[in-house]
Symmetry: D2
């Protein structure tokens, strides 16, 4: 499967490298506004530099990996869909739910394959939790608890165009909650504050937040986010049910434990999301290539992208208005 990679930044490099490393796929073109970045990724993957127009127009290109800034996603998805490409797009489709809906209309009419990059679904640990829950290992699911904390806050310049904590960071957790609940949340309450960086508060955003949600059948979910964790990237999920609980713990740097007069000390968690989700990105690509080849519906698809954004919007509104927000 021949790929055009649009966007040669941090995440473009990951997907481009993974495409190039597979036996059944290759990167043929790389596009990026930054010519040097495009050149570097093209060289390391054996591809050529091209413009976005060239990639969309190329008959060789069967699939595109959209790794460019968020505000370009919806347009690129539409263009690629109309050109008959299979589309892998990093989350989110757009920050505006209306724009997402229009984009998905285009995808639907074009009959295009669209997969959204909620990479955590493919983490072997979270995937195992979800599979066991789905198989009934804990009987009826009752409570989902998700903790996500970044090692440190992004620069304020990033915060300004991020869409805010709920749409930028907690969106992964909304998707994870839906993934595990197997049922749509119908209400969201949220609380949050700027405790990590006052500048984040001055920019109208928060860096610390807790959310609760419930589904029609009465299942509940709780999400805890912080833009800071001194002990490394903190990514935990717990599912509690009738017959038991399944918990996914963090991944540590090594399995070394040091015992001394200070107690027993083990390593910090894997600190960088690209390390933490290294395997997830490869498995995600595998799922995309499989879906694109077979024509099977990929998951997470555009609708999953939409629904996570709807929850993020609801949480934002719940936080801003200090009201519980119902999801239609």
């Amino acid at each position: 499967m021949k790929f055009g990679v649009i966007g040669a930044g941090r995440i473009g490099k990951i997907h481009g490298g993974n495409v190039a490393a597979r036996r059944d796929s290759e990167v043929v073109y790389v596009a990026d506004a930054d010519a040097g970045a495009a050149r570097a990724l093209a060289d390391s993957t054996g591809a050529q530099v091209a413009s976005v127009d060239e990639i969309i127009a190329s008959k060789d290109v069967e699939a595109v990996a959209i790794c460019s800034p968020t505000d370009t996603h919806a347009d690129l998805i539409e263009r690629a869909a109309r050109a008959g490409k299979a589309i892998f797009c990093e989350k989110p489709i757009d920050l505006d739910v209306g724009r997402i809906r229009k984009c998905l209309e285009v995808v639907r009419s074009a009959g295009a394959t669209l997969m959204i990059g909620f990479n955590r679904r493919f983490d072997p640990n979270f995937a195992a939790l979800r599979e066991r829950v789905a198989e009934g290992a804990i009987g009826e699911l009752e409570i989902v608890s998700i903790t996500s904390r970044d090692p440190g806050p992004p620069p304020l310049s990033y915060i300004a165009r991020s869409g805010g904590l709920f749409r930028d960071m907690m969106i992964h957790d909304f998707d994870m909650a839906r993934f595990i609940l197997g049922e749509e949340p119908v209400a969201v309450s949220a609380m949050g504050s700027a405790l990590v960086d006052k500048g984040i508060g001055q920019a109208g955003d928060i860096d610390t937040a807790v959310v609760i949600m419930e589904t029609k059948s009465g299942k509940v979910a709780q999400i805890s986010n912080s833009r800071r964790a001194s002990y490394g990237y903190d990514q935990r999920v717990e599912a509690h049910g009738e017959k038991g609980m399944i918990h996914v713990d963090n991944v540590r740097e090594t399995t070394v434990e040091m015992a001394s007069s200070q107690g027993f000390t083990s390593d910090k968690t894997l600190n960088f999301f690209l390390d933490r989700y290294d395997a997830a990105y490869k498995i995600e690509l595998d799922a995309f290539v499989g879906a694109a080849k077979s024509g099977a519906k990929p998951r997470p698809d555009g609708d999953d992208g939409l629904k996570a954004n709807i929850l993020a919007d609801a949480a934002y509104q719940a936080w801003k208005t200090k009201q519980r927000v119902a999801i239609e």
Copy 2:
């Protein structure tokens, strides 16, 4: 210190036994509506059976341990306060906040020592967490997360007169949240359902609940409750802050781990609250005797009891009205 123990049920036996085992205290009288229960506890502690009136009137009795049903607490506290006794009373003071306030007025005018039995504050694990947080081990506190799950639901007859999950079960977690936050919550949101036992739902109560709270300075707390946990009594607390996180895990039956073709299996958690909090009850009594002797203000005191009830009421209202509830 000479004690009168009022109530010779499960919790009365714990406190009576602990009073009798100390070198500096003794049980002199035991009262219970059930004469057999009173006799048994009196025998095992070397005390005499007496009526409540006799205990209150006795000049020998320096302190009372109120272990009788909830609806007797406020009256007994008032009578003992007026009689000049030091008072240890099991939580809650009353289910009605107005009644609690009146009772605390009486205690205040009498200048009586009143300590409320939030035993978990004295658990060595939770106490160590709180002490380290207070000492600044994690810098500024940001998020408190509390998980409490009972091994199984109580009988429906108990549910009916319990005051509901928030006042009966989560009240411990409200106190724990206040204990660790070191600051009063100013708002509560709640969601919950009856997933464990439909009868609980039919009785107008819930058995599964999640709550979020925030303080004036923007700290947040989340509480997760279930009346069921197949793996034993689940009692965990986590405090996250600027410089790190402190987590208290459950206590297991043994330190045995079995490795087999099924994986690595360790024991369930201590399944019964009297086992889990065995040490806490002793340390709690120590604190009470210390305060009663020295005249120092005990903690948790009547005001702590009141504030936990206020939070429970707010959570109940938040759940019922589907609104965030502000605490005045």
Copy 3:
């Protein structure tokens, strides 16, 4: 059951206190060369001070707890056996195997109940491991691994009369190995050195040692000892077999874990043997009282004491002669 406690030192206080706390037993006499120590223990247990002769002669005394120095054990056992007392004696019976054999002859002819204080058999963790092995949880047992490390070395004055590391410290591990193996070792190899305290080496002893043993059927055991462990009292046992492995880990002071930029740190192990084995001493006494009342053979009995000493002697010889030593 009426006890005479002989020896009112650290271990005498433990056993005396436990006897006094039971409903079915009491301390009637306490003897100790140090009159103050005897008085203190007698007072705290409600007993009277007496001489050893008085205890042996007393018709009231049904059982003796021998907690005096090692070199008095064998004589006291013999006298108590002849006087028809049930006997609980701290390990070892004697440092000399010949003397032990003679002593056990006397016990046998007298038909006395004799139990030896290998307290670790009664630790709930080790007992659970042994029970599961005996029940076949790991199928045929293949390898037993024991790690025992003291927090720090005893004073040199103690070392001098201790009988050396193998007879004083590793003897517990020899008993534990026998307890779990369910079969007698037939050969011992040993290596060791004085790494912790040069004075121990100058006294002809060692403070660091490793031993391997094998049984007739080919099971193997390994023991690792050190007189030092910076992280607390280290007591671990592992049994490996056909179908799996069972591991007993240390007991920590609390279940608190602190995560920071230094990693994840949990508490040291319980640092003092009296804390670590607090429950074991109570259960041990329970077993003794049960055996003494019913006339059932107690375990560990005199023969267990003898066999542990034989293994300790063999290990000593193996270390000294740099030869593997066969056990007859």
Copy 4:
């Protein structure tokens, strides 16, 4: 760096694949007695099939990776050394210590770079342990404990030509012990039996073994091996010293923990050595390429290979003769 890979079996595929995946190295030739295996590996690495003679004679080939059966290693090393190639050879150099010495003579005269494939030194967990010990994190090292258990025994046909447990399996642990001790063992005692598979015993070998060793300065080491572990590939190392202990635990398949009425269950260990040591093989190759390019002495080198074999021989002799064996 251009590689010739000799041997296209399981381990040849690993090293060949890793060479091909690096930017600074490539596989130019693959040789194997099995033409199909050679072809498959050549195809997947973009190399050509060649004979061993052709590889040795080729001026293109700068380095050889010797992954053929043990009995070919010494000859191939000598030929490659004389031809001026840098040599990476899987352990062991030979089963015969005399043959190894002769081979190393040839390597020495040729001034060739020779690295032996003790892959475990490069495992990030064991490497971290060693580094911390070397940096003094636990002060003076006192006891090294190594546990290695394979998931299951190899076929009897393999056992027959393996050189026996000590030379085939425990040799990794002898190297690991030397790696951590930083000092040579001067004596070995061993015990072992055939408990897993009687056929192994009938073939004159064992499948369960424990070994103890000591160094001149009195440090001790213990090794525990089994050809069976129901819970996955078991690879643990512990170093105990003056100031603490460092322990490396197994790597689990996921970080998922399931809590139920059966207790808390986590995954088996990574079950296959190629998975367990996947990262180690890559880092090992990195070290080899670095040494070959810079001309720096690689570690582990031929001398490390020799010394591990000497220890394995000594352990074999100790087991056979039931004597402690001194190492000259």
